[in-house]
Symmetry: C2
Subunit: 204 residues, 2 copies
């Protein structure tokens, strides 16, 4: 089984550190948590930001409903307990990616303040950068956009407990970044976040 070829592999003792990762990637890990109504533009901004980061040779990864609800959280529904567990697990995953040195974008309605604050807490208690990004869009505009036709279904009673219709959205009190998505262009939003990351020395 053993067919030795490499003879020049060496290692130092000790585990790979956050500083090792920072030097390798020329960036710091960070979690950018996009919260807002369905249709507010969270994912559109996250996709564009990921592209802008890649153009600057920065490694990011984006978590959203597509890769979470169909994967690790496919055994969760939309009860209050399951919604909390959904956000808890996503928060634990962003923490792991952040520790790995990745700029981690999480794009979820995450309507409850307590759930978001808990995610913030598990990052900050071990010194990881966590930024809450409130993608602020009034319900009327979000419902007019309705990119997935979900508001229509919620109004027709086909979807229950839909945030903004028959379930609350708790506005962030202390988001690091507040984007008023019907007053800013997509490029303004992306530039704003990039500047913020530069100022925090995340990109170096």
């Amino acid at each position: 089984m053993v067919n030795q070829k490499a003879t020049n592999v060496t290692w130092h003792d000790g585990e790979v550190s956050i500083d090792d990762r920072r030097t390798l990637l020329a960036q710091r890990g960070a979690t950018l948590w996009f919260t807002g109504l369905s249709g507010s533009g969270k994912s559109t901004i996250a996709v564009a930001l990921e592209r802008a980061l890649m153009n600057k040779k920065k490694l990011s990864y984006r978590l959203d409903g597509d890769n979470i609800r169909l994967g690790i959280n496919k055994n969760l529904g939309f009860s209050a307990a399951d919604r909390a567990e959904n956000i808890r697990r996503i928060g634990e995953i962003t923490k792991l990616f952040n520790e790995a040195g990745v700029i981690t974008l999480a794009s979820f309605i995450s309507p409850y303040r307590e759930d978001r604050d808990q995610v913030r807490r598990i990052h900050q208690e071990i010194g990881l950068t966590f930024l809450e990004i409130f993608v602020d869009c009034d319900l009327e505009s979000a419902e007019r956009r309705d990119p997935k036709g979900l508001y229509k279904k919620a109004r027709a009673g086909e979807i229950k407990n839909f945030t903004g219709i028959d379930d609350p959205y708790e506005v962030p009190n202390d988001a690091e970044i507040h984007l008023v998505s019907d007053k800013m262009s997509l490029s303004e939003e992306v530039n704003f976040i990039m500047d913020y990351l530069e100022d925090l020395n995340v990109l170096s």
Copy 2:
């Protein structure tokens, strides 16, 4: 709120691709799944491999009991159902890291073939590299090492359902890499895996 500074941020349309990540990192994502008895040496090898990868400027991240059982899986115990869910969630997380371009090391006893095969399946069905690494160590040697004192507790009846004592370990049938940990030195084991990764073009 908006305080525009950057004016030079541009992006192309479209999402960041696996090829973009490969170019940026000069590596391909891969999942290296270390399975074996408690005390077989899984984590020791994974730690040393992570160091060797970093020395070659390759980005890896290591999942183990410390960052999983205390984090995302802290609401799981050791019943058969919880063990399966434990491995299922870890497998979904390795898949995400792998997609992000990271060489992902998972170090868990993972005693059941069906659970490991399911993790393999979710990787391979979307074309991600998955390598099962069997850290093969006979029970006698593992129990003699007993680095965490767990076998002693299991023999004393203080821990129930302990793999190798009163719970089975199902040996892999088709592991890509088979390390006989009491016949190879740590550097031989690490070099063997590094060669394997080179041959698969994971490191370029």
